[in-house]
């Protein structure tokens, strides 16, 4: 269990005071993977480091399990080396002058355990991450993926309850990333770890997490289950950040009330959409490119059907990325690889029900 409440932090003095965390609060249930997702500068890494004890917030409270490790009100600030956590850094932070075993055994050294026990636990940790037999290897002679696993082994060797991961997969190539993702999830399930995960890659966040907190400019924009955020975002930023998105400028119908549904006229056609309040002043219709199917030409004019001409076709192997134009307006569609409308041809597409959201400015 990780509970962070009202975390505040600023850098600099006087006029150069830059707030980095603005009353950030989140709660990671025990035994789940909770992800802080956001662009760089959003404060996600700072939040993680505050939980780790490597940075001290200016205000707020952090509770790990049953222990309050930080409380500005009560003047508690437990040193990083006294919080029983494991952490994997973005750069892995493997110590090059030691062997793999030396790296992994380090957290156990001050526990008063005998050398034999240490060796046993190191081997167990290495086995858990799939590095059996590499204990004697010198750390600099490891590949990137191997280093990552060593970092992981080191983080779990001491049986921590909480594991912090700071963009651990960003330095790996795509295939390895996919593999490590699976292994991480398996490991978490097996050991029952509570993981606080930080990433800027929304695909990772969606794949790994039980819950995601999307952050921007030091504050949490929206928090929830990954698919909920993806399919039914309540914030425009969430909609934009979590995947490819189409935002069609349009006119707001008078009866548009947040939470209700309206029919919206756009350049491509008329669509039914849920209404959400956005932080932007424009009125926009949002839907994701893959929520469409090709419709026959005579379906144009029906509700939830858009029509236009194919402006661009990009064949990406498994899918086709089609840009449809109508006048000055453009939308992107993702079609199955077999559907290949020719550039310049007329095209009609049907939007899935419930896929569209109308973002209106706040009153």
């Amino acid at each position: 269990m990780i509970v962070a409440t009202g975390l505040e932090k600023s850098y600099g003095e006087g006029r150069q005071r830059v707030p980095v965390l603005r009353r950030v609060s989140f709660q990671a249930e025990g035994g789940t993977i909770f992800t802080l997702l956001g662009p760089s500068g959003s404060g996600k890494t700072t939040s993680l480091r505050c939980v780790a004890g490597l940075e001290s917030p200016d205000g707020g409270e952090i509770v790990l399990g049953a222990t309050t490790v930080f409380s500005s009100a009560r003047g508690i600030n437990l040193a990083a080396n006294r919080r029983r956590i494991g952490m994997v850094f973005q750069s892995y932070a493997i110590w090059p002058h030691m062997t793999v075993a030396g790296n992994v055994a380090f957290p156990l050294e001050n526990r008063g355990i005998g050398a034999a026990q240490i060796r046993a636990r190191v081997e167990r940790a290495l086995a858990l991450v799939g590095l059996e037999g590499l204990a004697a290897r010198d750390a600099p002679n490891l590949s990137g993926g191997q280093q990552q696993r060593v970092a992981l082994a080191r983080a779990i060797v001491d049986d921590p309850e909480v594991l912090l991961l700071d963009e651990p997969l960003s330095n790996l190539d795509a295939r390895l990333r996919w593999q490590m993702r699976q292994e991480l999830v398996a490991l978490q399930k097996r050991l029952g770890l509570t993981i606080l995960y930080v990433t800027h890659d929304q695909e990772e966040a969606l794949a790994l997490s039980h819950r995601v907190a999307l952050m921007r400019d030091g504050a949490i924009v929206e928090c929830g289950a990954p698919l909920d955020l993806f399919e039914r975002p309540t914030q425009r930023f969430t909609a934009e950040f979590l995947g490819l998105a189409n935002f069609l400028p349009c006119a707001a119908p008078r009866e548009a009330a947040p939470g209700g549904t309206v029919a919206v006229d756009t350049a491509f056609g008329r669509f039914r959409a849920r209404v959400c309040v956005s932080e932007r002043p424009e009125v926009e219709l949002f839907f994701r490119p893959h929520h469409v199917t090709l419709a026959s030409a005579d379906a144009a004019g029906e509700a939830n059907v858009g029509a236009g001409t194919v402006a661009d076709l990009a064949c990406l192997g498994e899918i086709n990325d089609v840009t449809v134009a109508r006048g000055e307006a453009r939308v992107r569609l993702r079609l199955h690889a077999s559907q290949r409308p020719a550039p310049g041809a007329a095209i009609a597409f049907r939007l899935e029900a419930d896929a569209a959201i109308l973002f209106v400015p706040p009153r």
Partner: protein, 595 residues
């Protein structure tokens, strides 16, 4: 993200690439910080303060503070004396001349060795650095004998060959400039070569592609790109030459020429039966400090500006070397000729003179007079082994103290979870002695510890302390740079793993900084052995070191003993200089064997 640059280890402005995280406060940190600040302030500030106080004291021939009168008379005397301006003029001419000469040679060799395909590069590299193993005063002695206006080896040789040689007098300001310039070239080479290595080669390649010849490229691309780095090196060595004592001291003694640094020394150690005037000496010393301080500000500003022009890629590129083609042989000959003058001649003179009782022009007949008496004398003379022992103790103590303190200071300024203001304060105090010339440090320490009841006056410890003060800035800068190279996350990972600060430092930082620590230690040891003027100001019967021995031999006219000692010192320093590469090669062998 690190935009730092350090030129061959001279790194004064260490900016951490990422703000050091300020984790939970560690209870003992304020004490450690306070102790470090107090110690640095004591070493750096106390002598400076004593100097200032002494300069406004009407001490005359008394010890400073003996008469409690505060007066500006010393400054009036110094500033009103026309010879002071002559001194300043001499110092300026000397500094500029030596710097220009030394840098010209250094740039030539740097370009040749780092950026061209000249053959025998490794040999040239080693040869250029040999003069670093010869203490400046030994080097000077060699040259005084090589170029003596009437009996100099060079002049007589030319005479015998019937070739006219220009009538030069080595015992002149020009002679001083010549000797200092070529002695400087080796040190300058290291800094400039480092700068050459960091220049993006694609600029030169583009110049080559656009059809410019190799010399045009050198002139119009390489040098301008290097200009900020070169400028900072120029300022650095101007600072060195303004305050250096060894060469102007030895030449000036026989030539009757004074520069600011020698004047300050002789004001406190008068030769002709006068008594020292500490007040005037302190006033002069402060003028020198002001000049050095101004130069150091210029240097730091230039360093900052220079960073824009230099690129260091993480991958470490290998620059393409300029093909010299038909110029290979001529340039090689020029390089060898320069090395002959810089290295071979002085070494030969040193060895030759050490084998004779009195100087005789080398000839087959003269060979009959050679003998090892001078070396025997040195071993018999009890002062020399005692001086060797003292030098070893002093160098070890200086190194231990300087490097030890710098490790702490580097950690505090780069990594410790303290506020930026404290960081800046500590860095400023540690850097302060950089602007204080050696002769001033020596005099300040002498005056201070004649009065302050700390019983180190007259022992090796006061010399070690004064040297530590002088070297503190360099080692802290160097170790700060090394500290930065050790990524912060490596330290943080250890903290997360449950280790305390000490254990983290001992198990993680120190092993990773080991090469830098070794280099720093050796640098301190080598420079402690070479250092003359501080030792000369502070030595005593029980605290004689090798450099004061050399000076004593010079004054006593025992040139053969001096040269013998010089040969032995040069051998010792050469061994020390090559130690790091020996150690790394041995370590590699051991590691290879283990596998």
């Amino acid at each position: 993200m690190s935009d730092r640059v350090d030129f061959g280890g001279v790194a004064l402005d260490a900016v951490p690439p990422r703000r050091a995280g300020r984790g939970a406060a560690v209870s003992w940190l304020p004490f450690v910080l306070g102790a470090a600040l107090a110690l640095a302030a004591y070493l750096a500030a106390v002598p400076l303060f004593v100097l200032i106080a002494s300069s406004v004291n009407a001490s005359g021939a008394h010890l400073p503070f003996e008469t409690g009168v505060v007066t500006l008379a010393n400054y009036a005397a110094v500033l009103g004396d026309p010879s002071t301006y002559r001194l300043l003029g001499n110092s300026a001419v000397f500094a500029i001349g030596s710097t220009v000469l030394g840098l010209a040679i250094a740039v030539f060799f740097s370009w040749l060795i780092e950026r061209t395909d000249i053959p025998a590069r490794r040999f040239l590299f080693v040869a250029v650095l040999i003069p670093m193993a010869i203490p400046n005063m030994i080097y000077t002695t060699s040259w005084l004998q090589l170029l003596d206006a009437h009996t100099g080896l060079v002049q007589v040789t030319f005479q015998q060959l019937g070739v006219p040689f220009p009538a030069l007098d080595i015992l002149s300001l020009g002679g001083m400039i010549f000797i200092q310039g070529i002695a400087l070239a080796s040190h300058a080479y290291l800094l400039i070569a480092a700068a050459f290595q960091t220049v993006d080669p694609t600029w030169e390649e583009q110049s080559a592609i656009s059809g410019k010849g190799r010399f045009a490229t050198l002139r119009r691309v390489t040098l301008p790109v290097l200009r900020p780095a070169l400028l900072s090196v120029v300022i650095f060595f101007l600072m060195v030459c303004i305050e250096t004592f060894d060469v102007p001291g030895m030449v000036g003694l026989s030539a009757g020429i004074q520069v600011l640094s020698t004047r300050i020394y002789w004001a406190t150690h008068p030769e002709g039966g006068q008594l020292p005037d500490y007040g005037v000496a302190s006033a002069l010393a402060l003028i020198l400090v002001v000049i050095a301080f101004a130069l150091i500000q210029l240097y730091q500003a230039q360093l900052k500006r220079g960073r824009r022009y230099v690129t260091i890629t993480a991958r470490g590129f290998r620059p393409k070397r300029v093909a010299l083609g038909g110029w290979r042989l001529p340039l090689l000959l020029v390089a060898l000729a320069l090395l002959f003058v810089m290295v071979a001649l002085p070494l030969f003179m040193l060895v030759w003179r050490s084998l004779l009782h009195y100087y005789v022009y080398p000839s087959l007949a003269a060979l009959g007079l050679v003998g090892l008496d001078a070396y025997r004398d040195l071993i018999d003379e009890p002062q020399v082994p005692a001086a060797v022992a003292n030098t070893a103790i002093m160098a070890a103590a200086t190194a231990a103290f300087t490097v030890g303190f710098s490790m702490l200071a580097a950690w505090l300024t780069v990594r410790a979870p303290i506020g930026g203001g404290w960081r800046r304060l500590l860095r400023t105090i540690v850097l302060l002695p950089q602007a204080v010339p050696s002769v001033v440090i020596g005099v300040a320490f002498m005056i201070t510890y004649l009065r302050v009841p700390v019983p180190i006056y007259g022992t090796v410890w006061i010399i070690a302390l004064a040297l530590a003060t002088k070297f503190m800035a360099y080692t802290t800068g160097s170790l700060s740079a090394a500290q930065i190279q050790v990524a912060g996350e490596l330290e943080e990972a250890a903290l997360i793993a449950g280790a305390g600060q000490f254990k983290t430092y001992r198990r993680i930082m120190m092993p990773l900084m080991a090469p830098a620590l070794l280099n720093c230690t050796l640098w301190v040891v080598i420079h402690a052995i070479r250092e003359l003027v501080i030792a000369l100001t502070l030595y005593s019967p029980s605290a004689q070191v090798l450099s004061t021995q050399v000076w004593g031999l010079w004054q006593g006219g025992q040139i053969d003993d001096l040269c013998a000692l010089g040969v032995m010192l040069a051998l010792l320093l050469a061994v020390l200089l090559t130690l790091p590469s020996i150690v790394t090669q041995a370590a590699a062998v051991v590691r290879g064997a283990r596998r």
